[in-house]
């Protein structure tokens, strides 16, 4: 019963927040967080800037399971197929993680309407995706994920496997048609990398920090992505890409903080 009451209250807060948002133009004042996370304002200021114009948006759709079956690998898909503006930047974070930031994606020559990447979760938390439009305003989608926790401080399966170095840097991938009838290309790629968070014993941080997608033919950059400690081990990336000259193939560049550059080509 207590749970049901809580859900009803939460829904009311949502409606109030929505009403408030639609009745006022975006200002520097922050909307209330329907999930009442203690980190809401702090993380908004940290990742979007102190003066960011922020509003909630149900067109920023975060698809995660409601609970973390494996705290080291929680599936996340950010679906922006209904987002009504141009997408300049997408920033995701996990409110209560020690390092909340998951990734920052900047589409360049390609339009990206879907992006997926698994994350770690240290305890039950709200997960956010903030999208910057062409006017500079931020549109935020939020979900809550239950977790028994410990995802950031669990030792990586890679590190406990003595053969991990053999597969380090291995890249698997494929190109598909995007799900849901969108035109363009869905790129799915997985990289074998321990992505050590630096929070386990005295294993130092060792993770992929940047990803770039380029056109093979002219090296034009399609998109770039910066990654942080919330990203899971052996990361699997999915992007729905729409860009010109799709027949030319895609070059994937990954750099970690250990100075490794992992380069691979997909398509023609």
């Amino acid at each position: 019963m207590a749970i049901r009451m809580h859900a009803a209250l939460r829904r009311c807060t949502w409606l109030l927040a929505l009403g408030w948002l639609t009745s006022l133009p975006a200002t520097a004042a922050l909307p209330e967080d329907p999930f009442r996370s203690p980190m809401w304002e702090y993380n908004l200021a940290r990742y979007l800037g102190a003066d960011a114009a922020v509003r909630h948006s149900d067109t920023v759709v975060i698809k995660t399971p409601p609970f973390a079956e494996d705290a080291t690998q929680v599936p996340l898909t950010v679906d922006l197929s209904a987002f009504p503006h141009e997408i300049k930047e997408v920033i995701t974070w996990v409110d209560l993680n020690p390092v909340p930031h998951l990734f920052t994606l900047r589409p360049e020559a390609a339009e990206i309407r879907t992006v997926a990447l698994n994350f770690r979760i240290q305890q039950a938390s709200t997960v956010r995706a903030a999208v910057r439009d062409e006017q500079g305003g931020w549109h935020v989608g939020s979900v809550h994920v239950e977790a028994a926790g410990g995802g950031c401080t669990a030792p990586s399966a890679t590190a406990s496997n003595p053969d991990w170095a053999d597969s380090f840097g291995q890249v698997r991938g494929a190109l598909f048609s995007p799900v849901g009838g969108v035109t363009g290309t869905r790129l799915k790629v997985q990289v074998m990398h321990p992505m050590d968070s630096g929070m386990v014993g005295n294993i130092p941080r060792f993770n992929i920090e940047t990803l770039e997608l380029r056109q093979t033919a002219n090296q034009q950059r399609l998109a770039s992505m910066a990654l942080s400690e919330s990203a899971s081990e052996n990361p699997l990336f999915v992007f729905d890409l729409e860009h010109d000259a799709q027949q030319s193939g895609i070059l994937l560049l990954l750099r970690d903080n250990g100075g490794n550059l992992i380069e691979s080509r997909m398509g023609i």
Partner: protein, 316 residues
Amino acid sequence: MNMRHLLLLLGSLLLGSGPGMADAYRYHLEPLEIAEGVWVFEGVTEDFSRANGGNIVNTAFLITEEGVIVFDTGPSRRYGEQMREAIETVTALPITHVFLSHHHPDHVFGNQAFDAEILHALEGTIRLLAEQGDDFADNLYRTLGDWMRGTEVVLPTQVVTPGRVTIGGRAIELLAMSGHSGADLVLFDHSSGVLLAADMVFYQRAPTTPHSPGIDVWREELRELEALDFRYLVPGHGPVVSDRAPFAQMQDYLAWLDDTLRSSAAAGMTASEVMVLPIPPRFDEIAVARHELMRSVVHLYGAYELEAMALISEGG
């Protein structure tokens, strides 16, 4: 109880949970005799919760000429102790054997109520419980709170040799399988025709897949079990039956899961997209199907995705 569990328990007490009366934390276990000398305690077809205290599992006992054979000990020390009390209302004979079907917590966390010297399990089960038992306990303390009070992992001391054995006049066959958890013991009592299938068979409740070596392995072993000449089937979760309906349902569900994961991977879908795919209406009667589909995607989908991708750079 170790310090970790004590802290978890204190946390759950401070949050306030569960019944607070003298009659609190009773599972009200009612033994049901399904065949001559074969008794079952039937749990609910739900997920672990503070409302059910973890009584989501079927356990059983068989009465022989010399004593009692227990099959699985339930989700907590309290369950094991209350199971033992319930057995004593049926017979004064001593408990001579406890067989543990596999290492999952809802089947082995009542072990403390029994003499460790008579706990029997497959070698793989003992190893898996030693590796994963403490993590299971942490999770269950969080989920069930005081229901778990005093519960600790007790490893079986007797390694089961698969095959036929006579115990107190009962002709018992012990089958070693792996499809559900990596090491699954099935007990077939030829004397009564009762097949204690444990979690190799779920009925009206979606199967769980966290340690399955693969759906194909599981389905093949299900065909072997179905071929046995049994009169009653006791699934690990779900109602006892006298027909083969659970096998048809398991095969149907697992085949659908396998096909869905394979075709989704071939289409390039993300894990979170697969989790919300429609579940066919014919599975409406299967409890917690959506919840288990989400879990199964986490357990299994990665392997299907790997198959659907090409090796682009060798690495190393």
